[in-house]
Amino acid sequence: MPDLQPLWLTLALASITTLILLVLALPLAWWLGVGRFPGKPVVEALVGLPLVLPPTVLGFYLLLAFSPEHAFGRALDRWLDVRLAFTFPGIVIASLLYSLPFMVHPVRSGLKHLPASMTEAAYTLGLSPWTTFRRILLPNLRASIATGVVLTFAHTVGEFGVVLMVGGNIPGVTRVASLALFDEVQSMNYHNANVYAGILLGLSFCLLLGVYLLRNQDHDPV
């Protein structure tokens, strides 16, 4: 029986990443959806960058940033006594950046499909932009938010390159299931590799099934 700790670590990483992104990505999606400001395409490109960037590239730059050899890592170390390279908080931050578009894009797409008159009606009824977002738009974005949550969770579960670069492969600290699977294959321990792979496959399939069920439910005729 393989070590289950990498699986728990994976679930912890995916859960924490999803929860934090849920809080951060909703206002960001709204801001990108309704805001008109100079430099918006730059922000959009930065948010979507992890979709096309090789994970090792993001991991490499984060590793440099977190390193005490460089300004950001040195400042964290000196002023806050925090080290992020090869730590669990470090891979959480990497996951947040890497999974950001998987939460922002579905919510933004959901916002885009809501009629503008819904927001406008709320404004004429005296509701502030924030109240309109909270009480009118958010409840109508439930399916999009659920899609974002599931995709973010699933994507974080499947992370490999960025976690390996930023976290190394430290058992009990940063060795998530995808890295444990890789180790088992390297050691030609195919039984354990099969267990990890099977669990990841089953989990990913169930999560994606959840997304498609949600989408179909969302498009049911009234």
Partner: protein
């Protein structure tokens, strides 16, 4: 008194509307009727022009502070809320909400979210009135009602307009709505006033050209 003075690519018109009047705005599709309502509501900024309400400039007043009630052409009902929820979100008192539910024939569907077109439109009308607006902006507010309900809703609308001293701008393609409700009619063409006058002057003079 509302003073409206717009000189944009879409709207090029000036008018004054006294408090308590109900003005119908008619004209072909694309003549600027909805834009006029949106501009009055503060949803479409007026780049060149000026709006004044009771002597106060509305140029920089956001929609939330204009105290308007607006019925949108697509009703803009909040689909996650029941009919009662759509009225409650305005902050209206429970007594006012109950009264509106009765007056706009919404009592039976008050707890529902899935509504017919007519029910949505009546909900939008009731919701626009819920907060006690001083300016009511209506974009084809009775188009989805059957003949009997249309007559009933005209009556209700007129009662609210008169009893609450509202100033109302009604966009309609229906001569009968304008005849029954309006005391002044503007006919727009390409964002300009093509004709204006009482319903009798404009609508009795010939066939419907709107």
């Amino acid at each position: 008194m509302i003073r409206f003075d717009a000189h944009t690519d879409v709207l090029d018109l000036t008018f004054e509307l006294e408090p308590g009047r109900l003005m119908a705005v008619m004209g072909p599709t694309g003549s600027g009727k909805t834009t006029l309502l949106r501009t009055l509501a503060g949803l479409t900024p007026l780049r060149r022009g000026h709006i004044e309400m009771a002597g106060v400039s509305w140029d920089n007043v956001p929609p939330q502070q204009r105290r308007v009630g607006m019925v949108f052409q697509d009703y803009a009902i909040f689909p996650h809320l029941t009919v009662r929820g759509n009225l409650t979100v305005t902050g209206a008192t429970p007594e006012r909400i109950e009264c509106l539910l009765d007056d706009f024939a919404l009592r039976e569907c008050a707890g529902q979210k899935r509504l017919s077109g007519g029910q949505k439109q009546r909900t939008a009308l009731a919701r626009a009135l819920a907060r006690g607006p001083r300016l009511l902006l209506l974009d084809e507010p009775l188009a989805a009602q059957d003949a009997a309900m249309r007559t009933r809703m005209r009556k209700r609308l007129l009662e609210y307009h008169r009893s609450e001293g509202l100033t109302t701008v009604l966009v309609t393609h229906d001569d009968n709505d304008a005849r029954a409700l309006a005391d002044w009619v503007l006919r727009l063409e390409d964002g300009r006033i093509a004709q204006s006058g009482t319903p009798r002057q404009l609508l009795e003079s010939g066939p419907n050209i709107y």
